[in-house]
Amino acid sequence: MPRINQLIAFVDDAVPSARLVEQADALGIRLEPLTGHVPVLPVPCVVVGIASHERVLRGLQAPSCGFVEWSLSDGLPLSPSCIEHAALGGHVLSLNTRAAYDLDAANLFTQALAARFPHLDPIIGDIELALAEGVANAIIHGNLGIGSKMRNDLQGFAKFQATLSSRLNDADMTFRRLEISAVPRADSLLEISVMDQGDGYDSTAQMGRSAEIEAKCGRGLGLIRQLAHQVEARNGGRCLVMSFRSPPLLNQR
């Protein structure tokens, strides 16, 4: 990946860890300690640190372009794709699975998009529902590896709930990353990606499938196809890219 020289990451800690500094150097981004509010700068910036509701909000609100969770304990690298999307003028959110579940990542991200791109208002409801479906799929089926067949009846649902609780407490699974990014593209398209670190799925088969009206599972992708202008699965189903045609040209920041 090419070095990015147009992005500043603000870190909650006054003295960032050596490993984080090393990762930032490799990506070509500048690290600055965050004291109080994120300053208004001529280059994009994101907030990096351990996730909490307040920190994530601070990262998602202008002038910051996103929040990237980073902690020494989870051993994960500073997310290159999120950094790249933020440097391109997009909006990003990268959390581990537990934080994404607890903080309602889709809702927070939709609010951030609505605030940054007010002219999306006529389609923000479509974006919210499609993003919620994408994030739920990425968490449940992707990072937590739970199949969708379980929820067909009450007994299955109870089993599903027990499995979900158990896997949310499994460190290997909850440290898996969920990443959301929104990048304005040409032709008034807003490209929203949801990435997980699960096992992926047969995207060709799943994308062509339409849910029955009575279905109690497997509706998500069908709904997303109805709501988005274009939908594509990449990286073996680990990355869902949804494009929305926005009313007039996106006004960045």
Partner: protein, 225 residues
């Protein structure tokens, strides 16, 4: 939920976090303490209460009744955000003494404000001998299994009845929420009961239409509900 005594005269408690069925024990201790007061106003500041479920609302009602039996008045102060909205939806302002409530437009969801407010399920209201009405409010997504289970736990009492689910207070629902409603319908049908959905608004109405749910479940729009 955390509950602390911030003043003795008048007796004032501060509640913060999430008030749910798990908080029965802590709340019961407070009710006992209030009973020791005599002809006093007892205050509960809930400005920092982020979430309350139907069980939590029941606890407030029990506390108010217990206070009244001792000749005291329970005053609930400063409900905020989704808690304030649910108080209004449940019409608790006509039953409880509530001070410092947000105006409705302030309580509405605003971009940038704390976002997590899950599903709220009202206690059932008997419209007649055969019809039960339950209101849903807040956001109903794949994370709301626990609250959904409280609804499911009551289904056995609705055999051979018509169950109406009011959706006018529901801001958002995803396909997992929809799936849970279909499970409720299946369970009710097994009990010889029926389910209908009433007054869906905005994004919830959009989801029901996109998923063609009206073909398998009666959906009554607001104008007819």
């Amino acid at each position: 939920m955390e509950i602390s005594t911030v003043a003795r005269d008048p007796l004032t408690y501060r509640l913060s976090g999430r008030l749910t069925y798990k908080d029965n024990e802590a709340f019961s201790a407070v009710i006992d303490e209030m009973a020791g007061q005599s002809h006093a106003r007892v205050f509960m500041d809930i400005a920092h209460l982020d979430f309350i479920d139907s069980f939590g609302i029941g606890l407030f009602l029990v506390a108010a009744e217990a206070a009244a039996r001792s000749g005291n008045t329970l005053v609930i102060q400063r409900p905020q955000g989704s808690v304030s909205r649910l108080f209004r939806l449940a019409k608790l302002d006509s039953i409880l003494h509530i001070e410092g409530t947000e105006a409705p437009q302030q309580a509405a969801h605003q971009p940038g404000t704390p976002a997590r407010h899950g599903l709220w399920v009202s206690p059932p209201a008997d419209l007649d001998d055969h019809t039960v009405r339950i209101e849903l409010a807040g956001r109903f997504t794949f994370t709301d299994h626990a609250e959904f289970e409280t609804l499911v736990a009551t289904l056995g009492t609705y055999a051979h009845k018509e169950v109406q689910l009011g959706l006018s207070g529901l801001d958002f629902m995803d396909s997992a929420g929809l799936s849970m409603l279909l499970i409720v319908r299946d369970e009710l049908e097994r009990l010889g009961a029926t389910l209908s959905l009433h007054s869906p608004q905005g994004k919830v109405d959009q989801l029901l239409r996109l998923a063609s749910v009206d073909k398998v479940l009666p959906v009554i729009p607001a104008a007819q509900a």
